[in-house]
């Protein structure tokens, strides 16, 4: 009886997880498939098989510079988000100030961040301040969007770290900075890595901020893609999308390696 139930459960789980996977992954595969279509318009199922769209976009100066800009922005804003987000998380998890628990609650809850509105507000502030470099403005905007993800991931893992470890290190002669570097950071490395990966992904394909902060010279990939969609709709679009997906994935992997999720996970044998 219980064996049957277990069997049923396993079966159900397999079907359910499989279904979710298909639901999530299907658009990616459809995109991939369409990018090889030998037709003048986007078509699914693809007609024929060609790699000319890839040849076309990989020599397209606009696409390549948009890609470079997006990469630079994603890495830059991830670093900035870590630099801002980790100290903020430390304050939220360890600090003692009035309203800390409320602030912690707000930031840890899955908050709705009206990026379109925030982007508009940011644009107005930046232009009022006379800042005209679109790259810098985008970096600021993306950092703003990405930092909460870092704060959330890091705060959550900080709350799981035994504060006595930090106290022990301090009694052994480590000042606050050394304590953070030698004791706290190795403990929260997985959280930092998760936050960084999130920050990277969020920045890499963020459209709302780009809508307000980009200009004609400096457009990140999502914005460029959207502009392209309005004019032509040939398979170069899914080809670009595929390149973006692959780059975002590998970027996330690189970030994860850099921040050291692996190292943290392999610390304890």
């Amino acid at each position: 009886m219980s064996l049957n139930l277990d069997r049923f459960r396993q079966w159900f789980l397999a079907v359910f997880v499989g279904g979710v996977l298909i639901f999530v992954m299907a658009p990616l595969f459809v995109t991939l498939a369409m990018s090889f279509s030998d037709s003048y318009f986007v078509a699914f199922p693809p007609q024929g098989l060609t790699i000319r769209w890839y040849q076309q976009i990989l020599t397209d100066r606009y696409f390549l510079s948009a890609l470079a800009l997006s990469g630079y922005l994603a890495f830059g804003s991830t670093i900035c988000a870590l630099l801002i987000g980790i100290p903020a998380a430390m304050a939220l998890a360890r600090g003692r100030f009035p309203g800390r628990t409320i602030l912690q609650g707000i930031i840890l809850s899955p908050l709705i961040f009206p990026e379109l509105v925030a982007g508009l507000a940011l644009m107005q502030v930046l232009s009022a301040a006379g800042m005209v470099d679109a790259r810098l403005n985008l970096l600021i905007g993306y950092t703003l969007v990405a930092a909460p993800y870092v704060v959330r991931a890091v705060t959550t893992s900080l709350l799981l770290v035994d504060a006595n470890l930090e106290d022990a290190a301090r009694t052994l002669g480590a000042n606050r900075f050394v304590t953070f570097w030698k004791v706290t950071l190795p403990q929260i490395a997985p959280g930092v890595a998760a936050g960084a990966v999130f920050a990277f992904m969020i920045s890499f394909d963020n459209l709302p901020m780009a809508l307000w902060l980009a200009d004609s010279r400096y457009s990140p990939v999502p914005l460029m893609l959207m502009r392209q969609l309005n004019s032509v709709f040939d398979p170069s679009i899914p080809a670009m999308s595929t390149v973006i997906i692959i780059l975002a994935l590998s970027g996330a992997l690189v970030v994860e390696r850099l921040v050291g999720m692996r190292r943290a996970a392999s610390l304890q044998p």
């Binding site: 006595n164 022990a168 002669g173 190795p186």
Partner: protein
């Protein structure tokens, strides 16, 4: 490992958290090389006191004086204290040897010297063969020994223990108590230990400081604290006590009366408004009602309600004629044969006048 013994003085320490005071007016003088236990119920401010001495909590008022120098504002990492925590607080990503090396590295000691000291410290806690293990591969007792080696290897001026054995099981805890105390004596390191276990405090400390609601209730040697508590709180916190609320008796200046019972004390009764007699269970003897007259002071007839065999000690729970409970402990002496006292027996409880300890009401 050489340690110089330091004298520690706490002068009127206060710690305020918001509106409530965690520690109030704690003053304390600790002899070089001695071990002091802070004992008290949960939330009475023991940990807060200890953390103020460590420098992990900043006092709201008061001073901490180490060997004549005021260290109240010295930051924790410059205080040179060794601290043990209830959950060991070993760095999980470091091996045993690396854990022990941590404090030495902070002191920028030469590599060869560090290696030498690690070996010595691990030898001291009998864990030299475990140096390459990770904390997760050790038992609780072993982990706390590593923590002890880590704390002592820096040759601290003070050793601070916050319920260091609280997470261990009874047998191991008792053997670690002895081990820790021997080591502390040998090194002559001034030590403060926090505990809410009165046995642990009595076993290990030269001085026991009983705390209540952030204040010191009473301080003294284990013997004084146990035998001459100065309040009902201390008397009951340090183990079961039989308490009798008394009045002066017209029959004499050294006689107290509580209902039908009379208590005589050596010398005159000190003048307190509502004296309370505290009678330790182990000072009460039991005789069969047929063998002893219940008349007279320092005697009471009672009925046995429960007999508990606790290995070396028998616990007798009795009911007095007034309905009050009375508890007596009796040493089990196998060579003397066992006594046939059973539930329901009528007995006479009796004790010496010197066992009558008077508390303020």
């Amino acid at each position: 490992m050489s340690t110089k013994s330091a004298a520690l003085r706490l002068e009127g320490l206060y710690k305020q958290y918001g509106k409530s005071a965690a520690v109030q007016d704690v003053s304390l003088s600790i002899e070089p090389g001695s071990m002091v236990a802070l004992l008290g119920p949960s939330g009475c401010g023991k940990t807060t006191c200890l953390r103020m001495v460590a420098g992990l909590v900043e006092p709201t008022a008061g001073a901490i004086v180490l060997d004549g120098a005021d260290i109240t504002r010295v930051p924790v990492h410059k205080r040179n204290v060794g601290m043990l925590f209830q959950n060991y607080a070993l760095f999980p990503q470091l091996t045993v040897a690396e854990n022990v090396a941590f404090g030495l590295k902070m002191r920028r000691m030469a590599k060869a010297e560090i290696a030498k000291r690690i070996a010595k410290a691990l030898q001291m806690v009998q864990l030299h063969s475990f140096s390459d293990r990770y904390p997760s591969q050790l038992s609780g007792g072993q982990q706390q020994r590593v923590a002890l080696a880590r704390a002592l290897v820096i040759e601290p001026d003070l050793l601070l223990l916050d319920e260091p054995l609280g997470a261990l099981d009874k047998g191991l805890r008792e053997s670690m108590q002895v081990e820790l105390r021997l080591l502390q004596r040998k090194l002559g390191i001034t030590t403060i230990m926090v505990t809410h276990d009165q046995d642990e405090a009595l076993t290990m400390a030269d001085q026991v400081i009983v705390m209540r609601d952030g204040r010191i209730e009473q301080g003294g040697t284990p013997k004084v604290i146990y035998q001459k508590p100065n309040s009902q709180f201390v008397a009951t916190f340090l183990g079961a006590s039989n308490l009798f609320h008394c009045q002066m008796d017209a029959a004499g200046p050294n006689i107290l009366r509580s209902g039908p019972f009379r208590f005589t004390v050596d010398g005159a009764v000190p003048l307190t408004a509502n004296p309370v007699i505290c009678l330790r269970p182990e000072s009460i003897s039991i005789a069969a009602a047929s063998a002893m007259n219940a008349e007279g002071p320092n005697r009471a007839s009672a009925t046995i309600e429960q007999v508990i065999y606790r290995g070396p000690v028998m616990h007798y729970h009795m009911k007095l004629e007034t309905g009050q409970p009375l508890v007596a402990y009796e040493q089990v002496r196998p060579l003397h044969g066992s006594r046939a006292i059973e539930v329901g027996d009528a007995v006479v409880a009796h004790w010496e006048p010197s066992s009558n300890h008077i508390l303020p009401g």
